[in-house]
Amino acid sequence: MNTTVLNCGYVPLVDSAPLIVAQELRFAADEGIELNLLPQPSWAALRDLLALGHLNVAHMLSPMPTAMSLGLSGPPAQVDALMVLSANGTVIGVSSMMADAMRAKGWHGGFDNPIATAPPMLAALNRPLRVGVPFPYSMHRLLFEYWMRHTGGAPDMQIITTPPPLMADAVSSGELDVFCVGEPWGSVAVSAGVGELILPGVAIWAHAPEKVLAARRAWIDDNATSVSGLMRAVSRAARWLDQPDNRVLAIEILARSAHLNLPISAVEHALTGRFATRADGPPVHVPDFVRFYDRATNFPWRSQAAWIGEQISHITGIDRAHAIEVAQGTMRPDSYRMHLGPVSVDLPGASSKVEGALSHSTAVASTKGEMILGPDAFFDGKTYDFAPVK
C-alpha cells in the first residue's frame, strides 16, 4: 500500500492523545497514512499554518474553525471540523489570595457546584476580575463567560490570553485572579502552591466539545481517500483510549513519546481525572473529566457548533443568526457518516440534538442501536434547540 504523509499540527497537550496514539500504535499506518506530527508553539501559529496550507490537518480548539470561518481569527479561511477529538478536560482555578477572599465571603470549597461558587467569587474583589484563558476563541473562555452570564449577570472582567505553561506564573505574579486551563496546567498551579482549583469545566457543561480535528474545506473536498483513512485511524485511537484497561498503557505511551514532553504525573492527572484542588488537599476524582470516544464524543454535532456560534456572538457582538449558521457549516457530520459508517462506527439518527437535554445517560436511535449519549446538561439546566442548517 502506498503511504500518504499528512502534515498534522498539534499543540503538545494531553488531549492531542488520539493523534499520537493513531501514529504510535500504527492505526494510521494500517490506513496507509503517516502522520507527520508537528508540534506548534501557539494556537495562532497552528492556525496560520493550517490556513496557508502548510498543515493538512490540525488538533484545534473547538471554537477555532468557527472563528476562522467568520474571519475573526487569522487569515480568513474556510476551515471545517471533521470530528471532535475530545470532550471536557479543563479546570477553573483561582489565585491563593482570591481563594482566601472567597472563603471570607462564605465559599465552602468543593469542586462541583457552579451555582454556589459564583456569588463568593464575584464578591471577593472590589475590582474587575482578571481571567486567564489560553486563547480568545477557546471552549475555556466560552464556558467561563457562559457561567458568569448565567449567574448573577455579566460582571466586569478582563479576559487575558495566557499560554498554558505560563498560567501558574501569571497567577503567582498577581497578573491573574482566575485561570481557565486544560490539565495538567491547573495541577501545576496547585502543586506550585499559587492557586486552588474551584471547578472542572465538566461542571458547567457535562459534555463540551473541547478539541476538534480540523482541515481546510477545499482540502477535505479534494482528498477524500486521505480524509477517510485519517478519520478511521483517529476513531480507532479514540476508542482505544476510552477503554479503561488501556489507560495505564496510554499514560505510558504519551509520557514516553517525544510528542508531548510532559512528565508522567502530568499526563496521569489528565487521563485519570484525579487531582488535588489545593496544595495540601486530598485528591478528588472527577467522572467524565475527559472523553475521547464514548457517548459519541467524536460525532461532529451541528448543534454543538451552533452553541459555539451563539457564544461567539455573545463575546464579539457579531450577528447571532450569522454566527450560528457559519458555525453549523463548519461541522461535517456528512463526511463523518460517509467515512465512518462503512467501518461500523455507530451513527446517530440525526446530526443535531437538543444540547443540554440529558441529565443522565440515555440510549438514542442509531445505526447499530448501541448509542448512549449524555449526560450533557448545562449547570443551569438550560437546553438549546437550534434549527437545523438548511
Partner: protein
Amino acid sequence: MTRGRWQRRPSVRPTVVANDMKIAVVESDPGRAREIIDALKEDGWQDVVVLGDVIGLARKLSALNPDLVLIDLANPSRDALEQISAASDAQSRPVAMFVDHSDDEMTQAAVTAGLSAYVVGTLQPERIRPVLKTAIARFQMMSQMRLELEAAKQALADRKTVDRAKGMVMRARGISEEEAYALIRKTAMSQNRKVIEVAQALLTASDLLS
C-alpha cells in the same frame, strides 16, 4: 526574503516607515534582544523597548502603545498578542514575526508563505528597514481589505432590505419595481433620510402590523 505578518484590524497607522516609530520587541533571551536592538538602532530606530518578561504581556503592550511589535514566530506568547488584535480598534498595530532558526521545515514553510518577517540568524541592519516596511504595508493592506469586506457585506445586506421593501410597496400599490423604488427614494429625499432607513422603517412597520 522580506516578508511581514501582522494583526489585522482597521487602522489609521502611519503610512511611512519613520524612524520615530516606537517598536516593542518581545524576546526573553537578553543576548538576542540585544542583537535586535543594536540592529534596529544602527538603522536609526531609537525608540525600541524590549519586553523580556512575558507575564502580563497584553497589559504592558497596551501601556506602551508601540507602533509595531516584533516577536519570534516560535514564541508561545504569540497567543497573548491575539487578544490585542481582538480588542479595540484603537489598539490595533502591526505585528512583525521573525524566526530564529532556518533549519526547521515548518519554519521554512512559514517564511516562504510570508508569515514571518525575518531570519534573525542572518540579521543585518540594512535588512531591517525593508522588513518593517513590508510588515506595515501588508498590515495596512489587510486592514483595508477588512474594511472593504465589511463595506461589501453591509452593501449586500442593505440591498436585500431595499429589495424586500420594494416588493412590499409593489404588492401594496400594484406598481412596478421601478415605480416602487422611485417612491421610496422620493420619500427618503423629502424626509432627508437615506433610502435604507426608509426601507428598514417600512419593514419594521410591516412586521409590527402583520
